[in-house]
């Protein structure tokens, strides 16, 4: 049987890109305007792919997308669910109630203070109960919530290590509120750090319906076109999860877009460890990749004004792109940017007879550009005389400054002093220096990098993790790691991975400080395959 085909979409702010892949080969590409409902743009791109390639829809084995559905809903406070909020932790934690520090409009969108309950329960780090779970209080609160909530968020103290109270609370909620109310448990969402995990859990609960609708309409559209393949969504680490799993965990898609771009760069270049430099018109994102996945950010991620501890890729953004303005006095370069001419390059850049010197113009003067710019549907140069008139010293100085800026950004993201390979992607990749970059062993700019994000969604790999706290004075370290690994494998399988293909990516150990004894937190990341 021939290799199954894969279709992938990357939903951007302006365009939705689509690709049709066979193995590593790009069979067709499509570009559609992103629509308000997001889904419409995806369907247009899908039809274009099917039309231009003429493939039999039955040969398609996987459909996947990077999406902004959830992020948009939270930022615009649109179509959010009313959320019943349970925290299991009293008598501890009551000094800082749920939703503390939230923007007022978002607080209101969640449904109001009568839906917020701090219940006796939760665990200590060593497994003892803070208090026995107050089941009656949960039942009572649920009865009052009837008809007032679409979704429930449950967060228990130390649940990432001891989830039993969250699980019991979920049973009670299910009994009273029934199947139609969705339940999010915090230990499935994020790690230690109660308030940020609780925020992440509540946000997740608020976008369940948004994701559900998106998934249903896409499944429908795919089916109508005779495609019988499962649907996958890209999650924040750049791996995919099954669409049904995504409905339960929509918050895992907030960084879906940039993560897909990084994965696309990895896939197209074949480089698994190094830096990805995504150069656009106004800015450049640098990510560091380890074993094919973007490194995670260690700081809190703010979504719609709320602090969360959702795992997101660690991206460094700098104000450097093809349209960045080079400020100069005579032959002396004063500064690069931060302003950019953006899409007005063809009007304002020197290469097109405009008044401003941009990074693009410097590259033209350096003789770096030799092909048409797809984005602008024009030649890269219409006024050669304006470029010829540029002082040689200015061009050289600007070129050196651009190189410095890139080198610094790359160096900031590296984790060792050793030189590493760099993958340059994005529309601006062709207008920056690629030779002799310090700290870099080689610079690659693979083909099809302009649809790298869409390609990135088609890599059929699933990532997952698990955490645990151990006391090394009482437990064996290897056994403890094995236990956490087992849980991580379970999580991967639940997200859609084939069990036999799951492998460990890394094991992290973090000691507890200010505490005698040998306690530490263990975190294991794994990845597995979707297709055999």
């Amino acid at each position: 049987m021939a290799e199954r085909l894969r279709v992938g979409f990357d939903v951007g702010g302006t365009f939705t890109d689509g690709v049709l892949m066979r193995g590593r080969e790009v069979l067709a590409k499509a570009k559609a305007l992103t629509t308000d409902d997001v889904t419409g743009g995806i369907i247009t791109a899908l039809d274009e792919l099917l039309g231009s390639s003429g493939v039999d829809p039955k040969d398609i084995g996987m459909v996947s997308l990077g999406t902004t559905h959830t992020t948009n809903a939270i930022i615009e406070r649109r179509n959010l669910n009313r959320v019943g909020i349970f925290r299991l932790g009293a008598p501890a934690t009551t000094a800082i109630p749920p939703l503390t520090g939230w923007p007022e409009d978002l607080k209101r969108a969640m449904g109001g203070p009568e839906l917020v309950h701090i219940i006796r329960g939760g665990s200590e780090y060593d497994g003892r109960d803070i208090a026995p779970l107050d089941e009656q209080a949960i039942a009572e609160a649920c009865r009052k919530m009837r008809g007032k909530v679409d979704s429930v968020a449950i967060t228990g103290v130390f649940s990432p290590i001891i989830p039993k109270h969250e699980e019991r609370a979920a049973e009670i909620v299910r009994d009273i509120l029934g199947e139609e109310v969705h339940i999010t448990l915090s230990h499935r969402i994020a790690t230690i750090s109660l308030l940020e995990r609780e925020n992440s859990t509540i946000l997740n609960a608020s976008v369940i319906t948004v994701m559900q609708r998106a998934v249903n309409s896409l499944k429908q559209a795919v089916k109508e076109r005779g495609i019988q393949a499962p649907l996958f969504i890209v999650q924040n680490d750049g791996s995919v999860m099954s669409a049904d799993y995504a409905v339960d965990y929509p918050i895992f898609t907030v960084a879906s877009g940039p993560a897909a771009s990084v994965r696309g760069a990895v896939y197209l270049s074949g480089i698994e460890d190094g830096v990805v430099v995504d150069i656009g018109g106004t800015s450049t994102d640098v990510a560091y990749i380890v074993k094919g996945f973007p490194r995670e950010s260690s700081i809190t991620v703010t979504i719609g004004g709320v602090k969360t501890n959702i795992r997101c890729p660690d991206l460094l953004s700098i104000a450097l792109g093809g349209g960045t303005i080079v400020k100069h006095r005579g032959e002396e370069v004063l500064d690069l940017g931060p302003e950019s001419v953006g899409y007005n390059l063809v009007r304002l850049g020197k290469s097109f007879g405009g008044p401003l010197l941009t990074v693009h113009d410097v590259a033209v003067a350096q003789g770096e550009l030799d092909r048409k710019l797809d984005v602008f549907k024009t030649d890269f140069l219409t006024r050669p005389e304006a470029i010829r008139a540029l002082p040689r010293g200015l061009v050289a100085a600007a070129w050196a400054r651009i190189k410095d800026r890139l080198e610094e950004a790359i160096d900031k993201m590296k984790t060792t002093a050793e030189p590493v390979p760099a993958i340059f992607i994005g529309g601006g990749a062709m207008v920056v220096p690629k030779a002799g970059i310090a700290g870099v062993s080689e610079v690659l700019s693979p083909e099809h990098f302009e649809v790298g994000g869409a390609v990135g969604t088609t890599i059929a790999e699933i990532g997952a993790y698990a955490e645990g706290v151990v006391d090394l004075e009482r437990e064996d370290r290897d056994e403890a790691i094995a236990k956490v690994t087992e849980q991580a494998v379970e999580n991967a399988v639940r997200a859609g991975a084939i069990r036999d293909t799951v492998e460990v990516m890394d094991v992290e150990e973090i000691p507890f400080t200010y505490m005698p004894g040998k306690r530490e937190k263990i975190r294991v990341r794994v990845k597995g395959k979707v297709l055999q």
Binding site: G89, A90, P91, A92, T93, T94, A95, I96, P97, T100, G101, G122, E124, Y125, D126, R128, I130, A131, V157, F158, I192, S193, L194, L195, S298, I299, D411, K412, M413, K414, T415, T416, A417, E509, P511, F512, T513, Y514, M515, P516, G517, K518, K521
Partner: protein
Amino acid sequence: MAARDILADWGVKEFREIDRAALQEITLGASILATGGGGDPEIGLLWALSVLEEGKEILLVDPDDMPDEALAAIAGCLGAALVLTEKPPGGRELFWCYQALGRYLGKPVQAVVPPEAGGVNTPVPMAVAGAVGVPVIDADGMGRAFPELQMTSFYIHGVSPSPTVAADEKGHVTIADTQDALMAERIIRNAAMAYGGISWIAGYPMTGKQLKETAILRSISLAWELGRRVMEARRKHLDPIEEVLSLTKGYRAFQGKIVDINREFGAEKTKGFSLGRITMEGIEEFKGHKATIDFQNEWLTLRVDGDLRCMPPDLICILDPATGEPIRTDIVRYGYRGTVVLIPAYERMRCPKGIETFGPRYFGYECDYIPVEKLMEGTG
């Protein structure tokens, strides 16, 4: 009794109200002065903010305005930083501590003095003062952050931490009335483990007279001003490091990129501290130079090209050159770029008993204490 009544009783007319913005500024200042440790101050800040939201007041008073015979005590937490972020307080813990302390002493405690002007134990006493209804004295016990109960200017100048009261969120109260400070530290830390990782503590009961003679005075104002200026520098795109230096008489000792982090998982781990050493490679005017910084929860010693430049109790702060945001020892990692700022400790921290209690030898270095001013002489 409310804080205003206590102040009226003391005849104090001038004091400062701590509002939301002030809390944010004080917390930023305190995290800079925390020298890389002191726990994540976010929980303390959120707690203090929610105390204000309940309509309670947080009032800051100059130490000179506290009557000699009135009684103050520290308020804060001690234990595992990680537990603090997962199990925030119920809000009554320190109320119980203050009650128990007053009962035990047979005299009410009328003021809170922060144990540290660094880390989580700066906003926490603010929250407590607001919740309990007593004023906060503009002073602390170290002008920075240190890990142990006895590491205070109070102790080295003759105030005992005993009786120290520890409580948890369920109202379990431990009173440690010990003969020496190290035993109090041990009992309270063991109570923390029994409580599930954190002891909420009130201790070092002292009179206004003792406070004036032993505390680091007006250090909360300093943290506040520091936070205010750094925030302003960010808004106006000025150099925040310059603001820190001019306010603290500090030194810009190094600027570099972290190229190695060596965390020790050895025997020292049983002491309950995160231990290790980072190596930085110089950038900009420090290009070609190398720095190493040892840490035990807090940054402890700095060497540049092998030469000692700073040791405890003088302060080492590693700050983001663009934002002035400090980096902590528990989250620092390879590739971070920072400016190393050294700040002389207060003279009250530098007496012989102080050097014995938290100087280089206490932390296991075989060397005598030399003040940072001397070590930095002639380095430009």
